[in-house]
Subunit: 938 residues, 2 copies
């Protein structure tokens, strides 16, 4: 957009001219420009060109005193220097497409031209040529060990110096420059013999290596020379910085490449001036170096503004097609069709060091979960399903899912509602004389069938009603449950290992716990034999002959003895040690995770530490535990591969134990299970496929559900627990696989690229889970409190980046301290608070439900959440919801639909949510939903 | 400095004009300008002026959608708008010193003028007047509880709205505006009936309240009106922002107040343009709001640059006069003379809420120190000096010092070297049959005399050799000792309360500890009676009649029994609980201290939490300890006011117990004590009087030493320990009394104002220490580990802001991540590392010395540190040292001396270190030592 002017201006509108040259053809994009500025240094009669700054995207200055490169920063220019540069280009020599092969020849041509134009006295030719051909000295970054070696020398003149083209080889900086880059060299300086400035702007026909002129072996394409009379070095310097900054400007560099004449260049400067951002001198200190922003305006946007041309679109991926095709198995078919081409890459893309940390992290989460749920299931079902079944089921279901499902980043696990269902089912079966395992098998089969029907009918379309409101509410709830459970288990340690708070070190003599033999008279009475039938009778131990004092606590109670003494009830140290391990693991993980943003150590090391933070914390606190040698509760995995109960095998036979009507009636409870599984699975999938995660390989809702159904049937036949997507662990999985750009121009922020989408980590995690039976000797060193600490961390970490959680925090912040969230700019705070309050109330209700037996209708309540959200449409304007809940307003949707209809075939896959830009972004840039673009964006 | 241009420019150099008007006279400074921008809103046929932004120093924008004020930010303007504004002022109506008393009259005058000048058609008069007199609607900040009350309403149109002059009363914003402020109102908008813009700039003769035009009841001085044809609202808006930004610019507002005509205003804009900072559009997104910087360029500097005038100097305080007057007691006399006028304010300035937190903090530090050193001294001197003496001495010496000394912020305490000296002295006395107390009295008297001689001869001049190198080395060492001691004591708990790591909860029956009666045969033998003479004989207990199982551990051992059992050696829980208390207190204090910078809660509450962080942490963990009820080691202060040993009184008689020559010979050890005290005291004083602390009331090195000497004599007579300045606690004292500006323009960073210099906190701390004897019932709840945690925090906190420590951290940072310390811009990294390494080696040597008996010559080693620093003059250039060690280069010193000679009388007091600017500043601004100013500053 070009600003229309009220009044005529000194700077002429140059857009017309640029529109012509930039819009000429569809040439490939120009190479990146690396700009180096060298200034002329006088040392007595000696002169040399010394590098003083460089630009890839941002400016790096040579700190003269510090003999080093400054941090990359935004170039702050003075308006003067830009105007002076403009005048320079108006009056100086401009040589475009000069056919130059060496520096002397180029300089010769330039001087010749100046003399021709009468700008330079011929007698100065020699002197000028001499100055311009002086050697170039570059500032190179010295490795720190060399600097330390230098330390002894007291003379402070050793600059890393390299002349000629040889020395540059060691320069690590070259890695930061794209391979096809070209250089632009800016030479400025003052000389005694000139009376007026000598200015030249040269564009070479071909980029040419000019020997040691450039710090790195990059061929030079542009050359700007400014030599002037003595006394104004500072001014020349500023002009040099101005042209250098222009040369790295996306738009101007394009102009420079395509300019036909001097006027085009000046039009380029005018366009640049038209867009510059001006800071008032009283509100900003020019000496403050401005850190590069997280995001800069894209060249495309500026391009459109300037030239009115639409840059080429394309290359965008359609993320999560959830359309309802209304064709039998249509969704499943499309899912497979879409995922199949990615299948090979799902494997080779998994081989990366980051995968190792992800595997360790998720593996520990999975086995802890397997053990916890295994234990609870064992309690609930009288060991029909125990820890062994839990391990086997997790390993089998998880690895199958990761191998074949639509979204292999999803991690399957047992979940709370299913646990409650199993418990109720077992009690019901027992109370009504129905065989539990067979009954359960039929429910599983029915439910699997129902899932497959849902797949076949493309029922997953329902999730289009799952907006941010529902999705974030659900994931927050699950995170809270994780946090709550971790803390509850920790507090459990204080109950399990009670602390004797009355202990007085001096009265240690008063504390003992003795096993006292039962009253010999009562021993033979009916009561005691009733309690100890097995041991007394079968082992036939003569109780009176026992040395009661030598019995352990358990044995003592077993043989009917009683424990007498002050210390019987208490266990020293274990509770506090557990707490230290728990809290230590949690806080160390949190600290190490943040270490990525610290100033210490090189970036790669920091990234490694951050990636392996959980592993290192676990190692650290396992080490501490071993050091203390205390008998803290340890991770214990089963070591024998056999069902927990001896009276069941690995296969449940479907007939024979229950009356026939049970086979049919089980369809009813199965419906509940189906809803439960469907909601849990699909909401987690929506969360995993969030726009923010920038997934390339699209989702596969139908395929996911298909496999969940199949695995359900298999698990039912084998008498294993049922599995469904686990929200928190899946988020943790994604978090541990995030990719960022590795090399970028100095100062450019690493950009989040997406997630390492592959099947390898998941498969290995579950294979490891399966063979944990053999890893028991290693795993037994891991104290449970350490794993609870990991759980706490997982829960807390999964709250990050949830907008709902950010909005909750707003309640505690005074308005002036609130972060510059984009929705805060557009929606009144009280509307936001109201929206958040509604969410909080919904969660509170769900939490209460979850804590009662009503937990079984929990999935239905998630459906209620969607309903509540629909009701909010009457309370909030579409404008507000667009900002808070990321919905696309109806009229926009219509437009999208129209657009879609025009497309056909494969392209029809891309659904409307591709257009749903992730407005909730932690950058401060303003992005408006499309229909409001004209109103709010500049 | 005015940039000289290479070529003629579009913008004419306007400095000449400004120099004339700004340099006119010595008028009082102009009032602060509050600028409000209102834009014309059309609602059908209805029109109103709606506030859209405001400025005190930085811009605050009304977030249209958000219905609230944005955060204050630096105004980013477009170059266009500035040029357009310039044209506006060139072509529009400029009315300077209009005598206006009401808005209608002013508008009438303006329109009249436009018609006169032929700029406006007369028939538009009515319409224009109608538009300009529409009511004004202001954005007011609603208190949050009101917003919450509003939440139920679903209509989102309730803007806080106030018309007329009544509604502004509740506006809290008025507090942010200085009382004498005047307003400038900017009105911009588009109307249908105009064909070309209507522009007016009005300066009123007198600032006048114009009713509801301004949000706050501030009289209006300036009025800028821009109404234009429809369709360019955005452009008008930007021009409005430009003039508003100009009006709050220090220099331009001055121009606006003093302008004689239109040309002056335009010259002001040109000057502004000359100084603006330009950001390239490709490197910065204009939508990012730039947070106000920590410091902005001072108006004075810009003033000098523009006008060439030197702003008035003065108001600077002379901080720490250390001159050597070479007159008997001259330094002491000057100290008293200088401090006496502050004496009353030293009391009334102490009454502030912050003092309470400081008192609590320092009190706990002092009693912990008193108990620790008391205990150690008791061990070392066989209780000749015990905890009671330590308390009494601390209270007496501390309160006297705080009441009368030169620097009442210094806290006196026992220190390590003195402890070692006492230990050696006691052993020597005992070994040579000399009476310890009398000997010590004479050493004390000699040392006191020597101190007084040092005072009389102004020997404190030696501290001028204490540069940053020595001072920071010393304080780092003391901080490390604090940290080391705290951790050592914590580890001690693990030794004192050993953990039984073999404990198996199930085998609790195997753990006991029984008191076994000694072999009855041996009891009557010589050996056992030899060991138990007192109890066996005097108490005449029949040992055989004892119930041995009922004895406590101590009793059992006392009566010769032996402890048998697995649990005898161990104490459960206490070690781990101590660790939790220790680490918890430390980390909670650290966290709460940082809470000041969090986004949550209002500023005042955060400041309160931060100030009371230590108190709250102690309370929290004392509470936790009470909750657990464990027998952790508690703070125990003596409850009876009597000497620890029964055979000594409160007065030591000087004669009679030792031979006469001892009285004279004691002068020799006294010399050691004197050096020790002198160095400890004066370096701490230098640290306390650091430039960074911005002390107003100057130092009193001579007076301080005088009182240390006097107190030494008194303590010697009373047989109390000797006291000297405690570095870490004194720093903590200062930290807890730091002041910052309370109200400032929105966005302006609170500035560090200095330290609450007073005598109240110190005196109360020591009075409390004295009456701690009566506070014992409360204090006994405080576990020692909590106090060790406080000690750890003190040690770590006192490392903050030490440049040496920052330089140490540089070793671990890759160059590109290093903070932008100003010395890094000017000194090569390897020189900095070398300097740091020398310091580290010096500290390592001192640490080793401190850990051996050689600790007694520790103070002499500090002198050696000064020597090492002198030697560094040969290794480092003065340029480098100026940046790293803050020295003033010799030639500069000479200039300073010359300057000083010109002054006379009282003014002569100000020493050269007043000129030693604190270059080591955490702001990023560049400040060079003066002799390099021309080379490095812009």
């Amino acid at each position: 957009m070009e600003l229309k002017l009220l009044f005529p201006l000194a700077v002429s509108p140059a857009a017309e001219r640029l529109r012509y040259i930039l819009g000429e053809d569809d040439e490939p994009p120009n190479p990146t420009l690396f700009t180096e500025m060298d200034t002329l240094q006088h040392d007595g009669d000696e002169m040399e060109w010394k590098e003083s700054a460089r630009w890839i995207k941002f400016e790096e200055k040579v700190e003269e005193g510090g003999e080093r490169w400054s941090k990359p920063h935004v170039s702050t220019l003075s308006l003067h220097s830009l105007f002076e540069l403009r005048t320079c280009l108006q009056t100086g020599t401009v040589l475009l497409d000069l056919d130059g092969y060496s520096l002397p020849q180029i300089i010769d041509d330039v001087i010749e031209k100046q003399i021709e134009d009468g700008l330079l006295k011929p007698e100065l030719r020699e002197k000028l040529s001499y100055v311009l051909l002086r050697k170039h000295r570059h500032q190179t970054k010295k490795p720190i060990h060399r600097s330390l070696a230098d330390i002894g020398k007291s003379v402070s003149s050793n600059t890393g110096q390299c002349q000629g083209s040889g020395g540059e080889l060691k320069n690590k900086f070259i890695k930061k420059i794209p391979k096809d880059a070209e250089a632009s060299n800016v030479l400025v300086g003052e000389v005694e013999f000139l009376e007026k400035p000598f200015v030249a702007f040269v564009r070479l026909l071909q980029a040419t290596m000019l020997g040691g002129v450039t710090e790195v072996p990059v061929p030079t394409r542009f050359l700007f020379i400014l030599l002037g009379p003595a006394g104004k070095a500072k001014s020349y310097n500023e002009i040099g910085r101005a042209i250098a900054t222009l040369m790295v400007d996306d738009l101007f560099s394009d102009v420079a490449y395509k300019a036909r004449d001097r006027e085009d260049l000046i039009a380029g400067i005018d366009e640049f001036l038209d867009e510059v951002i001006v800071l008032p001198p009283g509100e900003w200190d020019p000496n403050i170096r401005i850190e590069p922003p997280k995001k800069v305006p894209s060249a495309e946007k500026r391009w459109v503004r300037t030239t009115g041309l639409d840059p080429f679109l394309g290359g965008l991926h359609s993320p999560a097609p959830r359309r309802c095709l209304r064709r039998f198995c249509g969704g499943l078919y499309l899912d497979i069709k879409r995922k199949l081409p990615w299948f090979p890459s799902d494997f080779y893309e998994g081989f990366h060091i980051q995968s190792i940390s992800a595997i360790l992290f998720i593996y520990l989460g999975c086995i802890t979960n397997a053990i916890t749920f295994g234990g609870l299931l064992g309690d609930a079902t009288d060991n029909y399903q125990g820890v062994m079944e839990s391990f086997l089921g997790t390993a089998m279901a998880g690895s199958m899912f990761c191998l074949f499902a639509g979204q292999p980043l999803i991690i399957l696990s047992s979940t709370g509602p299913i646990l409650i269902f199993e418990k109720l089912l077992f009690d019901f079966s027992k109370g009504n004389g129905i065989d539990y395992m067979e009954f359960r098998l039929w429910i599983g089969l029915h439910s699997a069938l129902q899932c497959l029907i849902l797949v076949a009918t493309d029922a997953s379309f329902i999730i289009k009603y799952i907006t941010r409101f529902t999705e974030e509410g659900f994931s927050t709830l699950i995170s809270f449950i994780f946090i709550y459970d971790a803390i509850k288990k920790m507090i459990g340690a204080f109950k399990y290992y009670p602390i004797n708070s009355d202990f007085k070190p001096d009265y240690v003599t008063m504390y003992k716990c003795e096993c006292v033999a039962p009253d010999p008279a009562g021993l033979s009475s009916a009561k005691s034999t009733l309690f100890l039938p097995k041991f007394v009778s079968s082992n036939a131990i003569n109780l009176t002959a026992l040395d009661w004092t030598q019995l352990s606590k358990k044995e003592c109670l077993k043989y009917g003895g009683s424990l007498v003494g002050k210390s019987c009830k208490f266990v020293p140290d274990l509770a506090l040690m557990s707490f230290i391990l728990f809290f230590g693991t949690y806080s160390m993980t949190l600290t190490l995770k943040k270490f990525k943003f610290s100033r210490y150590f090189p970036t790669k090391l920091r990234k490694l530490i951050s990636d392996f933070s959980i592993f290192m914390s676990i190692l650290m606190f396992v080490g501490l535990d071993v050091l203390f040698g205390l008998n803290t509760p340890k991770l214990q995995v089963p070591t024998d591969f056999k069902p927990t109960r001896v009276d069941r095998g690995w296969f449940v036979f479907p007939f024979g134990k229950n009356p026939w009507w049970v086979y049919l009636a089980s369809a009813l409870p199965a419906l509940l299970v189906t809803i439960l599984i469907f909601m849990d699975q699909q909401i987690t999938a929506v969360i995993v496929n969030r726009k923010e995660h920038k997934l390339r390989k699209a989702a596969g809702y139908h395929l996911d559900l298909f496999w969940v159904g199949i695995l359900m049937a298999v698990c039912s036949f084998m008498g294993l627990p049922w599995y469904v997507a686990a929200t928190v662990i899946s988020i943790a999985h994604i978090d541990s696989l995030k990719m960022e750009t590795e090399t970028s121009a100095p100062g450019e922020q690493p950009q989040f690229l997406g997630v390492r989408e592959q099947r390898v980590t998941g498969i290995i995690v579950f294979v490891l889970t399966g063979i944990s039976v053999f890893l028991a000797p290693i795993l037994k060193y891991i104290p449970m409190p350490v794993l609870y600490g990991v759980f706490l961390y997982m829960g807390v970490a999964s709250l990050n980046g949830i907008q709902f959680w950010d909005r909750c925090k707003l309640f505690l912040m005074p308005a002036k301290h609130q972060p510059d969230y984009v929705f805060l700019r557009h929606v009144p705070l009280r509307r936001i608070h109201l929206f958040t309050l509604v969410q909080i109330i919904c969660l509170a209700v769900l939490w209460i439900l979850k804590s009662t037996v009503a937990a079984i209708i929990f999935p239905v309540m998630i459906l209620a959440l969607i309903l509540v959200r629909r009701l909010l449409d009457f309370v909030f304007s579409q404008h507000d919801l667009a900002w808070i809940d990321n919905i696309i307003p109806e009229k926009e949707k219509k437009k999208e639909d129209d657009k879609k209809k025009k497309k056909k075939g494969n392209k029809g896959d891309s659904s409307s949510d591709e257009e749903m830009e992730s407005d909730y972004d932690d950058t401060d840039t303003e992005k408006a939903p499309r229909d409001m673009g004209s109103e709010t964006t500049l």
